[in-house]
Amino acid sequence: MKTLDKNNMENHPQDMLLGYLEGTLSVEDHDMVRGHLGQCEECAEEIDSLGKLAGILKSEKHVFCPEPWEWYEFIENGYNPGGRLSSHLEICPLCSAEIANYNHSRTQETLPTVIKEALKEAYPEPSFSKHSEAQGRFARIPNWFSPMFRFPTLAFGAALAAILAVVLLYPRGNGPIFIGVSSEDWEEAGPVAKSALPKFVPAQKESKAVGGNSQVHKYTPKSRSVEQSKPKVALVVVFSGFDKPLPQSTVDSLYEQLRPRADLEKRFQFSTPAQLKQFLEKAVGRNLSPTRILREFYKESSINFALVENVKADEDKFGLKSQLVDTHNDQILAESIQLGLSGTELASRINDSLALLNDVKIEKRTK
């Protein structure tokens, strides 16, 4: 260990302060540090803060332990990054006891009375699971969305939706999940493009689609080289909690809300709903989960990011969870959640969610 020059106050014994505190220095070094501390305010403050910190490390041993939510994930979902939690468990009696407690304690079969009473107070008319009312909800959905069709552009967009569009249904543990599919290709997207591009002819689109010409539904870039340098984004609507597929017009109108604005088109290349539909048509019969299907779509279409709109039936209302996902590692880059939305609000929030693309430095990540 280095020795201290008593006469040089600029030579602070920083590496010896902890040893001084813990009494591990030689008598000579101990005396020298003590002498220095008497004259050096900076080191006196330093030793104070180090002592406080060392004290916490000694007395609050749980600072070395994983968080309770991590243990929850470990027990319930096998979360164990790099074996960190299992290794900690082997050496930590505190955590071992916690885990044993967690595993041995049993949750009551019913809600405790105090919690029930609090619930009654918060929700004077408690609602119970109303999946049986789903039929009525479906009947109301077209009416909720109908105001959108008063706008000529939206009505035009909806009219473009091809008859062939489908909604795929895959049963899952938590109720069916639908991947919303539409033939929207946003050909006339963006304020500039709207006037510049020729009007879409539905008959032509339909005939090509039937003929299986894959070029028809492809997003037509303005300049291929520029487009290819941009990150590619998929916009997907997923439904859950509904008992049967939604009317196609509803799905189309939601995708219409995702039509990329001109400012986003400058930064990103978008895959169109029609491209997703085309992929799904090929995937029918392969018995893949929605997750797998979307992953494969991202891979095949070289999608870098996906903006996934999870629409959830929530009693008489809708819930919306919008997530911007990095498709290479499934990492969620940005997210928003809204509950208790009416049909009109849902459409509006889906449109707003495009702003998630602004919040993330996507170009940098792509490089």
Binding site: G19, T24, T110, I115, V308, K321
Partner: protein
């Protein structure tokens, strides 16, 4: 894909917010043991007292769930609320104690004297609260510390191993270890200070 897998939480929160009792039952079943773990860590109280606080946490969640931001996991949100309720408990307990002590100035009966004496033997609640908050920041700082330093500090302060034993385990000389430990603690202190400056609580 995470977005679909997390639909379960999303769905449960939505149903709870609509007041569905079965949904709250499911919510309670899923998180009751987790909440108990947080409360036990924080309060070190008797099981009866812990039960009481666990109920308080769920009652708080009834009104707090609407603020759930799905940027974080639902279990993380539940833990945060549980910790807040524990902090409130500290404060409430501290305030009650102060009131009791103030009352004792006007009342000289033996019961009150006993109460004051009893409290003097317990760690001051205010101090306990400050220490708990401080420990949270240290915990966060430890996460940001390099792995080597973290391991060294763990051996030294968690296992309370003497330098001679750490030297044996790591093959590093005792002198080097004391210097390294000192540097690691200083680094931890710097991270800690930065967290405090940035408003981390």
């Amino acid at each position: 894909m995470a977005s679909i897998n997390e639909n379960k939480d999303f769905s449960l929160v939505g149903q709870c917010l609509s007041g569905s009792e079965p949904a709250w039952m499911e919510f309670y079943s899923r998180f009751e043991r987790l909440v108990r773990m947080v409360v036990r860590r924080r309060l070190h109280n008797s099981e009866d007292a812990i039960e009481d606080v666990v109920h308080d946490v769920f009652i708080t969640l009834i009104s707090a769930l609407k603020n759930y931001n799905s940027s974080y996991s639902l279990q993380n949100f539940v833990c945060t609320i549980a910790e807040r309720v524990c902090v409130d408990r500290y404060r409430f307990s501290n305030a009650s104690k102060r009131n009791a002590e103030t009352h004792s100035l006007d009342d000289e009966n033996s019961g009150v004297v006993y109460q004051v004496m009893k409290s003097s033997n317990q760690p001051c609640q205010e101090e306990a609260l400050i220490l708990a908050q401080e420990a949270e920041i240290v915990k966060r700082a430890l996460r940001l510390l390099g792995m080597k330093c973290r391991e060294l500090l763990r051996l030294r302060y968690y296992d309370e191993a003497p330098y001679s034993k750490i030297a044996e385990l790591t093959g590093i000389t005792e002198n080097t270890l004391t210097v390294q430990t000192s540097r690691c603690i200083r680094e931890l202190r710097n991270i800690h200070q930065n967290l405090v400056k940035s408003g981390y609580k």
